[in-house]
Amino acid sequence: MWELVRANQRRSTMLVIAMAFVLAALGYAIGHLFLSGEGWSGLALAVILWAVLAAVTYASGDSIVLALSRARRIEKQHHPVLYNIVEEMTIAAGLPQMPAIYIIDDPAPNAFATGRTPQKAAVAVTAGLLETLSRDELQGVIAHELAHIKNRDVLYMTTLTVMVGTIVILAAVARHMIWFGGGRRRTSRRSGGGGQAEVFIAIAAVVLMILAPLIARLLYFAASRRREYVADGCAALFTRYPEGLASALEKISRTTRSKLAAANEATAPMYLVNPLKVSKAGLANLSATHPPIEERIRILRSMGGEAGLSRYDSAYRQITGRAVGVVPASHRDGQVTRARAAARREEADRRQRVRQATDALWQLNDFIFVPCACGTKLKVPPELRGRSLACPHCGREHAIQ
């Protein structure tokens, strides 16, 4: 299992090379049709555009993603349960160090991971997620996110996003040029010398301009969905408890508010479930970053008391009816990894979880917590520092420091 990263890398490299090839062909075609020179100038244009986009993306990095989603960094005292779960899963995944933990003040239950390397990774969860899920369910979700980190999915999906973005922009520019007659300059200059081969190349170039962005997008979405399945399988393996993630996904799919205020198309693949819209059940959606949630649940639930990647892969093939699985062949060793039984521990109820989550947010906003002898915990805004306050339940006076 632990060489999954490497097996993934080989497969990913192939896709990145294929994308690079499409990008190069598109650039060449643009140069051939519209730029007075040879196709090479178009190719150079494509490479420059890609380099600029890549540089901007790389430089802005994770801090932007976290800032855009209005995530707040927490420490252990803010939410001990969440912190402990992340630490547990870091150990289970064998990551070199614990990722930074963030909370997003949003009622929609969701989570995401970011960071190009495990050393600079972060995981963010919404307050809604903390309020909705039990400990075992939260553990499954965190395991899924840490699997993204372990498998270097962030780096890979960012690379693909940049390439798809470049292809889409180039194709759009080229279509514009066709409409506004940008290509005429070239044909008039070399009139007479063309012939059938020239016409054929021109047609091929136009077809490429129309198809390239479509193909690039479909490849991108397929890659994103595959990574989601693999992360689900890894989550089952890390926790040895597929039911945790399955029941978390089930709860999330039942919530009505699933759209996250601070998510966009570029960051969508990193979330636990699609943060942009609810996918319709049964709709085979080719342009989705995430597989249908019901399907993910059914695969996890049909693992039949096992938690290994081989079993996940066969469950995937059985449920989706596809012949080719998602886990690289080198990791379907056929070994049986048994799932553990459900914990018999008493769970915090929803009220307690809401309290824990809101306490974390109060603390992040510098509220002062004053325990009263009657058992009440006063939460005082920072403006009242230095004044004294009576407990609303028993009337005892407290000095706010």
């Binding site: 632990w2 150990i91 289970a92 064998g94 325990p371």
Partner: protein, 187 residues
């Protein structure tokens, strides 16, 4: 003649490269196993540190449960005394400790005041999580041992393993007493 020489040198170079690669993989796997073991150790120590606090807190509410509290303290001392060299003995002592802790938490269920105590709740979360961490560290350690042992036993990496004296790792087994005992049925 020159061609033959080139072929011989090329074959030798490839062989050396392969030996180096196989050796490095073995070392990497063994280091992974050792890291995993130290992770278990860290969590076990953390558990030893938490237990006295827990016992003190429970004492304040459940004075009459001397027996269980003493059992926890004794199991902790026993686990500390076992040196980390013998994986099997260590595992046995730690399992004992886990079980006495579980009975302590079960006992706390019948004291509502204790269950509402913030300090107790925090300690319970810490200890439960530490138990989980021990479990996950053990899971990772055993996976690492399995990978190392497979490499040591399987052809062709076993040749290199024998050459450089790699020894097989020991699994950290959990055999819960409740699993071995026959279920007691009372009428």
């Amino acid at each position: 003649m020159i061609i033959l020489l080139v072929v011989v040198i090329a074959v030798l170079a490839l062989a050396i490269l392969w030996v180096a690669g196989a050796y490095n993989t073995l070392v990497r796997t063994r280091n992974d196993m050792r890291n995993a073991w130290s992770q278990i150790d860290v969590q076990l120590k953390r558990r030893y540190d938490l237990i006295p606090n827990l016992v003190e807190t429970v004492k304040g509410y459940a004075k009459h449960e001397r027996e269980t509290l003493d059992a926890v303290i004794r199991a902790r001392q026993q686990a500390i005394n076992v040196t980390a060299d013998d994986v099997q003995q260590k595992a046995a002592a730690e399992n004992m400790l886990s079980q006495t802790l579980r009975s302590l938490f079960a006992l706390a269920e019948s004291y509502p005041d204790l269950k509402a105590n913030q300090n107790y709740l925090a300690l319970q979360e810490e200890l439960t999580s530490t138990e989980n961490k021990i479990g996950f560290a053990r899971q990772y350690y055993n996976d690492a041992v399995m990978r190392l042992n497979n490499k040591i036993e399987m052809f062709p990496s076993n040749i290199i393993a024998n050459m450089f004296n790699f020894s097989a790792g020991q699994f950290f087994e959990v055999e819960e007493a409740t699993q071995r005992e026959a279920p007691k049925v009372e009428f």
